[in-house]
């Protein structure tokens, strides 16, 4: 399954490049979003909200009690980070939207997460490999953001960085255990890597909104982080005896609202309660 085909069908395969050059964020008249910081915060927040929700789907289904708890802990960390970032985004936007409005009352096209984090959980190996690819990137991004000039953003990033370092330690250890484990766990981990790897590329794509955010200091030049990320994943996958696939298939578009079919279904589940009972509290 080296071309990423299979369970993780995305609906936009084969259209990898033709639309991205002319694509525009819906809130902008040029390539740059109207409110750069708001748009950038949504990107940061939605990665965490979507991945956190995906992980929460494991609750009660983990392979063993301890891991069930660990996945739920990480899910809570990520949703907590998303909550803080969305709250800040709402304040920056200044249109009266708060973290709940932004989480529960936006549709898939308004979500700004990379496609990697919305992919279905698959088996445990797929969940772990997806998590590891994200965590290795996340630690580097949060390190940079923790010295951002926007103090609220810097504070959130500094808190999240501590959590992310643990997430990486956890997912990296699991990649090693699965890859360098039994024949079955190795095969599953390799299949997961083959499926997930193409989606990691989107973590390092930048558009004009990213560059505008970087210019203010409240954004991260992810292209510049790629070498360090590659070093981490090469090392861990090497220790795990897993082979990184060579693959030209590079899905993209999550940052401007182009998502796989999976996100809509996930949001339907995640948002159903809040939409059925607007304003409910518990």
């Amino acid at each position: 399954m080296t071309d990423g085909n299979g369970e993780l069908s995305t609906g936009n395969r084969g259209s990898a490049d033709h639309w991205i050059a002319g694509a525009r964020p819906s809130t902008a008249t040029s390539g740059v979003a109207e409110n750069v910081l708001f748009e950038y915060l949504l990107r940061l927040a939605d990665d965490r909200l979507v991945l956190g929700h995906r992980l929460s789907e494991w609750c009660g289904h983990g392979p063993i009690l301890e891991e069930d708890i660990a996945l739920a802990n990480i899910a809570l960390d990520l949703v907590g980070q998303a909550s803080m970032l969305l709250k800040l985004a709402g304040e920056v936007e200044g249109k009266g939207r708060n973290e709940d409005t932004l989480a529960y009352f936006r549709d898939a096209v308004a979500f700004r997460n990379v496609q990697l984090v919305e992919l279905p959980n698959g088996d445990f190996a797929a969940t772990i490999v997806r998590q590891f690819l994200f965590d290795a990137w996340d630690v580097l991004v949060l390190e940079r953001l923790s010295s951002a000039p926007n103090e609220s953003l810097a504070g959130i990033a500094a808190k999240a960085l501590k959590e992310a370092k643990y997430h990486l330690r956890h997912s990296a250890e699991w990649v090693r255990m699965l890859g360098d484990g039994t024949a079955e766990s190795h095969a599953r981990a390799q299949r997961a890597l083959d499926e997930m790897w193409p989606y990691a590329g989107e973590l390092f794509l930048m558009d004009d909104t990213d560059r505008a955010a970087i210019a203010t200091g409240n954004g991260v030049d992810v292209e510049a982080l790629r070498a360090r990320w590659q070093q981490t994943v090469d090392q861990v996958f090497g220790e795990a005896t897993l082979t990184i696939p060579r693959n030209a298939f590079a899905p993209r578009g999550g940052r401007i609202g182009r998502h796989t079919e999976h996100l809509g279904r996930m949001l339907a589940d995640m948002q159903s309660l809040a939409r059925a009972h607007p304003g409910a509290s518990w």
Partner: protein
């Protein structure tokens, strides 16, 4: 479990191969405080045990240090040893320190 029906019907006979090793977890809740037994976790390696201990026993509290120890490394007294080892010797009053007065101002005894 294997296809061996006799093994399957006597689960206590041996640990199934799907079961990870057991580790005992000790948590310390402040500098200078003792490490106290918190419980146990299943794990495959020391690093894995440390992570599971953190997730199960240390995430909500004010834990500052964790120990994990393979359960098999613990030497436990046998119930049958309770008499010889622990019979308190209440008939030997001189073994108990109740004749000493604790000076005022001493804390933590």
């Amino acid at each position: 479990m294997t296809n061996d029906r006799s093994a399957a019907t006597t689960p206590a006979a041996s640990t199934p191969e799907t079961q990870w090793d057991l580790w005992e977890v000790f948590t310390q809740e402040g500098a200078g405080a003792p490490h106290e037994h918190a419980g146990s976790v299943h794990a495959t390696t020391a690093e894995h045990a440390m992570q599971n201990a953190r997730d199960v026993y240390a995430r909500r509290g004010k834990v500052v240090s964790l120990w994990v120890v393979p359960t098999t490394a613990i030497v436990a007294s046998a119930p049958s040893d309770a008499g010889p080892l622990f019979d308190p010797g209440n008939d030997k009053a001189y073994r108990h320190p109740q004749f000493y007065k604790v000076p005022r101002g001493v804390r933590g005894l």
